[in-house]
Symmetry: C2
Subunit: 297 residues, 2 copies
């Protein structure tokens, strides 16, 4: 399924393109279950339900179309965020889009890591300005900026643009300021290291795709503290969540004791702990995996 046609037919009648696969990646990510703390096929959060993610995945499409057509990453991202917010009525996939938009843009030239690194290194000050405008569309949890970068606080939205222009910061440089503290931004400076790793894990994992997504999510959660959890609940909670996930991974709970993973998933939802960064990385990994060829199982 998710058949890969010849590159030559892509975009032509009958073919699928990166936008289709990015949209499917968003849908498969949210369907993967159990994903501790996150909306999944079996769990809703109070103000963020499964149906909102479905709507978000439809609403992003016009922005992704722009990226696929070679328009700048910044305005494509802003458009995707605006469409998501308007159609879903809330923020469902902001972080995933910050990974998917450059990946979709890079996929025009074949999605190897060097093409993605090139795409982000070629971003401009205008891309950075569009990124800040995207925050005008939606409420996003972000970390406090460093003391010397208060003028660049993303929460200022478009008000930060003069400071961005003044310092001549391109979008990659802006995101570099967010590292450490934001593992989505970190992908932009590591050549999408964990996204590619997630794609590799998705290929190796077994079972229906929905299970593989959840299994890879848990592995990523075990690997590094989720930065959205750190921002919202502090580093000790993020460290605790990571340790719990690592214990489950180390004893092969996903295969041998699924109930333990389900219990952990429900507990995090009840505590309002939402490892959204890990979900974003999973979505990016899914896209890379789907770009790589058909999924057989």
């Amino acid at each position: 399924m998710f058949e890969r046609l010849d590159r030559a037919r892509e975009g032509a009648d009958g073919g699928f393109g990166p936008v289709d696969r990015a949209q499917l990646a968003l849908l498969l990510e949210v369907a993967g279950t159990p994903k501790p703390g996150n909306v999944d096929r079996s769990r809703d959060l109070a103000e963020l339900r499964f149906e909102h993610f479905l709507a978000g995945a439809v609403g992003v499409r016009a922005g992704l179309d722009r990226a696929a057509a070679g328009e700048p990453i910044g305005t494509s991202f802003e458009r995707a965020v605006a469409g998501m917010t308007r159609f879903a009525g809330r923020n469902t996939q902001f972080g995933s889009l910050l990974l998917l938009v450059p990946l979709v843009s890079a996929a025009r030239g074949g999605l190897d890591r060097s093409s993605v690194e090139r795409a982000v290194s070629e971003t401009t000050v205008d891309d950075a300005a569009a990124f800040y405008r995207a925050f005008e569309h939606v409420s996003v949890a972000v970390d406090e900026p460093p003391a010397d970068a208060a003028a660049l606080d993303a929460r200022r939205g478009a008000d930060a643009i003069p400071a961005v222009r003044d310092r001549g910061l391109d979008l990659r440089s802006v995101l570099e300021l967010g590292v450490p503290g934001d593992d989505v931004a970190r992908e932009w400076v590591t050549g999408f290291e964990r996204s590619y790793d997630a794609a590799r894990r998705l290929s190796v994992a077994d079972g229906p795709l929905q299970d593989r997504v959840a299994s890879v999510f848990l592995e990523l959660l075990a690997e590094r503290p989720d930065t959205l959890v750190s921002i919202r609940h502090g580093e000790s909670v993020a460290a605790e969540v990571r340790k719990r996930a690592r214990d489950l991974v180390e004893r092969g709970a996903f295969e041998r004791d699924r109930d333990a993973v389900e219990t952990f998933a429900t507990e995090l939802v009840e505590r309002g702990i939402n490892p959204g960064t890990t979900a974003d990385l999973t979505a990016a990994g899914l896209f890379i995996r789907l770009e790589g060829g058909p999924v057989d199982r």
Copy 2:
């Protein structure tokens, strides 16, 4: 959510169109749970899983784009079916598309029932030919044709086209031959009566959209025997399923005894009884509902 913008902005930058809402209708339909016998947010069938429906809803998009652009209903439908089949690797939403494609086409002029009736009455012999070609892309369960219409058996695929042309049958006339016996075809000759009724019920029903979808599905299932169940399992099984659904609806089980609906849903899945026609009508109702304005809850 699913904000409706001004018609004037539809399709323009920032706006959503009928294709977005049709895609969302397909996604919300499959997410609705419990939907007895069908794939839903909580249930998979052996060869037809939730993730296949997600992929199908992405794959149909190019065909729906054609319908929205005013291209003929027949070729738009054929393209949507081909995309669905190729991306999902199987038949997930054939019947839903046979309702959504004329609805999307009619939505260009405002989606009242007279515009839909006009759209189907204006179909041609070429539309009918494309409809038969669509069967070449996918395996679909259809009823035996009447004795005098064996040449028009949809299972013959493109081989039936000479007989279609010979008799000068447009697509509406071809589908009229399927009534009774196919309640999707029946919509084409009743002005989409039950689809509009489903839309009205979706407006009246309460709770998250996922619940409303399932509740309306059950009401539709209680109303008439599901024709896909009739074709696959015979009329007595279809009548039994309808009676069981009616009993649940009459005692308000969806609100007061949800467990009974869940049990019925799982039982039908285990027996391999899949009321797919009722799901198709629900998807069409969802689209009409979404076209009518924002969904608030």
